[in-house]
């Protein structure tokens, strides 16, 4: 089912890009590469690694392994509208219905044989313990040994060295399972491509800060977190270049992502992955643009091709998703100022203890920089718990509040 879905997505998207080559198509190119990644994962013709969110995908790419974080599958199942049966499958097996929908969906998919059996499994202790538990469950289901990257929470030279050494062990772990030795030239080439994509992504984020923004409610959804999967590849460079070109042209022509942009929003944590009318409501009724997602504009220093593991370890350790909430809060406050946001939307992904547990701190932190927050109660994957009317009321009241009182404090 998933292979056919990705194949159809690829062909439809390719046809659209060919038919309208001069229309803005960065998002379509992004979708096309996602479809191609899905095909590689499900075709049975490639070495596959199921990973945690902050695995070094550019390194795995250099080893010719198609790698992906498992939450991607949960998001894809949600976007196809079929996630319910997989959630039920995991719940029937005893997983609590109020835990993270991404992980329940993935576990259900594995139980139903809808996840390809991987060659390699690499878990990460960041960003959440739920993800690690899901990976351990999957490893048992697939009868695979699990390699765990233990990501330290503090940015010290000892921590960086500790994680960098684990990457070397990880490469040996991968190499032992797929055969062959590590190709240093291939790794260097991957790092060069990863750095180029990074430079372009920084440019894309800089352009999105423009007032009015070339970003609308959807164009950069899932961008930063999924782009990690394309680091080290030509596809990653091409996607980022397409966004940069498109945004530059829009700004040059005085176009904004949302016509007559009136409200600029920061979207916290995850997007709602299934089809829903809330983004269109924001755009059409309130001329509100989501100019930045918390999971975008997470940047890092360029990777040193001569010492890649140290640089990659720093990249991972310094991600705002790692360590104390204050690190995440600093990131969110920085984005709020840079992107000149009027308000923030926090979906509080229901099963995510990290997301819901930090809700009060985040609301207080954004209040400090004058940014009001509306909290939604939604599982970003579980369509069965989507109370559209309730969420509409919260969002619309928030928009009314922002429109009538620009100095409002929170919601």
């Amino acid at each position: 089912m998933m292979l056919q879905y990705f194949q159809r997505l690829a062909s439809v998207t390719e046809a659209r890009i060919s038919k309208y080559p001069h229309q803005p198509n960065a998002r379509k190119k992004f979708a096309l590469e996602i479809a191609k990644l899905g095909i590689r994962l499900y075709s049975g013709e490639h070495r596959v690694a199921w990973c945690g969110v902050v695995a070094p995908f550019d390194v795995l790419s250099a080893m010719n392994v198609t790698s992906c974080f498992v939450e991607f599958v949960g998001a894809m199942l949600a976007s196809t509208g079929t996630v319910g049966m997989f959630l039920e499958e995991s719940e029937h097996a005893g997983f609590a219905a109020d835990t993270c929908g991404y992980h329940r969906a993935v576990l259900g998919a594995a139980m139903k044989g809808m996840m390809p059996v991987p060659d390699i499994m690499i878990a990460t202790t960041c960003p959440c313990s739920g993800g690690l538990a899901a990976m351990e469950n999957l490893a048992r289901t697939f009868k695979k040994e699990l390699f765990v990257l233990d990501v330290p929470s503090s940015d010290t030279s000892e921590s960086v060295r500790y994680l960098a050494d684990q990457y070397k062990n990880m490469m040996r772990f991968v190499s032992d399972r797929i055969g062959g030795s590590i190709d240093e030239d291939r790794l260097r080439e991957s790092i060069v491509k990863s750095n180029r994509a990074r430079e372009l992504m920084i440019e894309v984020y800089r352009l999105a800060q423009h007032v009015p923004s070339p970003a609308n409610g959807q164009s950069l959804a899932n961008f930063g977190i999924v782009m990690a999967l394309f680091l080290g590849t030509d596809a990653g460079i091409e996607i980022a270049q397409a966004y940069k070109d498109e945004y530059e042209e829009m700004i040059r022509n005085g176009k904004s992502g949302v016509p007559d942009e009136k409200i600029r929003l920061l979207w916290l944590q995850n997007r709602i992955q299934f089809k829903h009318p809330l983004i269109r409501l924001l755009e059409e009724e309130y001329q509100a643009a989501i100019v930045i997602d918390e999971l975008n504009d997470i940047t890092w220093d360029a990777i040193d091709p001569d010492d890649p593991f140290t640089s990659i370890a720093r990249r991972t350790i310094t991600t705002p998703l790692n360590g104390k909430i204050s690190q995440r809060l600093d990131h969110i406050q920085r984005l709020s100022k840079l992107y000149k946001v009027d308000g923030a939307v926090n979906p509080c992904h229901w099963g995510c203890r990290q997301g819901t547990g930090a809700r009060g701190l985040i609301q207080a932190g954004l209040k400090e920089v004058g940014v009001p927050v509306v909290n939604l109660e939604v599982d970003c994957v579980d369509t069965r718990n989507f109370a559209e009317g309730q969420l509409r009321t919260r969002l619309e009241a928030f928009m009314e509040m922002l429109r009538s009182n620009p100095t409002a404090h929170g919601a």
Partner: protein, 264 residues
Amino acid sequence: MYYLGVDLGSLSCDAVLLDHDGGVLASSVVLTGARNREAIAKATDAVLRLAGITEDQIRATVSTGYGRDRVEKRLAAVTEITCHARGIKSLFGGAQILIDIGGQDSKAVRLDPNGQVIDFAMNDKCAAGTGRFLEAMARALQVDIEELADLDLGASGNVTLSSMCTVFAESEVVSLIADGVEVREIVSGLNRAIASRIVALVRRVAPMSNGLSIAMSGGVAHNSGVVRALSQAFETAISVPPKPDTVGALGAALIAREKYARQS
């Protein structure tokens, strides 16, 4: 010239009709039931009849409530948070906190001196402590919902409910009755449990609510027992208008009048 506000809620559909100067001419409350449009027509017909005017004399209508998009011939649809805030401000000009407990949700709204919403919080994904909750408890106690209002009088307050889940709380109430606990003690426990949830909601918009002026709207404000429990919890009097369930419709009608004036 007349202005109409219609609040289509989950339990009741309310309408308020204003005259040219913003004075209230008539108000109505009907059960929403399963047919939204019938409820809207009934509530509207009632205020037209009471005021002795015809529909074509209405210059502007603003709708609110969960079914706000189902009201035809509306100038605008505005959320109940904004409408209740606008309505309560016209009734209690000094209100700084508004508590609105309706049929299926509860809200705490922080108001600025001009009556603008500067913060709000709503119940999380659960209808505990709302009108539906009280309906279920009245059913468990085998009393009419209106009777709940004074059933707590004289209670010592020594019964605490351990669950606010509507289903579990109903079971708990049945168990307490079976154990011979006095009805007034059970009702007092229910009211205090609702108040406790509302206090938490208000803290989200006003961490220090001491000294702030609090008003209440929504159908549950008819329940004087809940209002008493809230007053005790906040250690201050709660201002309740005579027709708390029509505050949203009143706010909608006031907004209709303002919007029409701006457009003309």
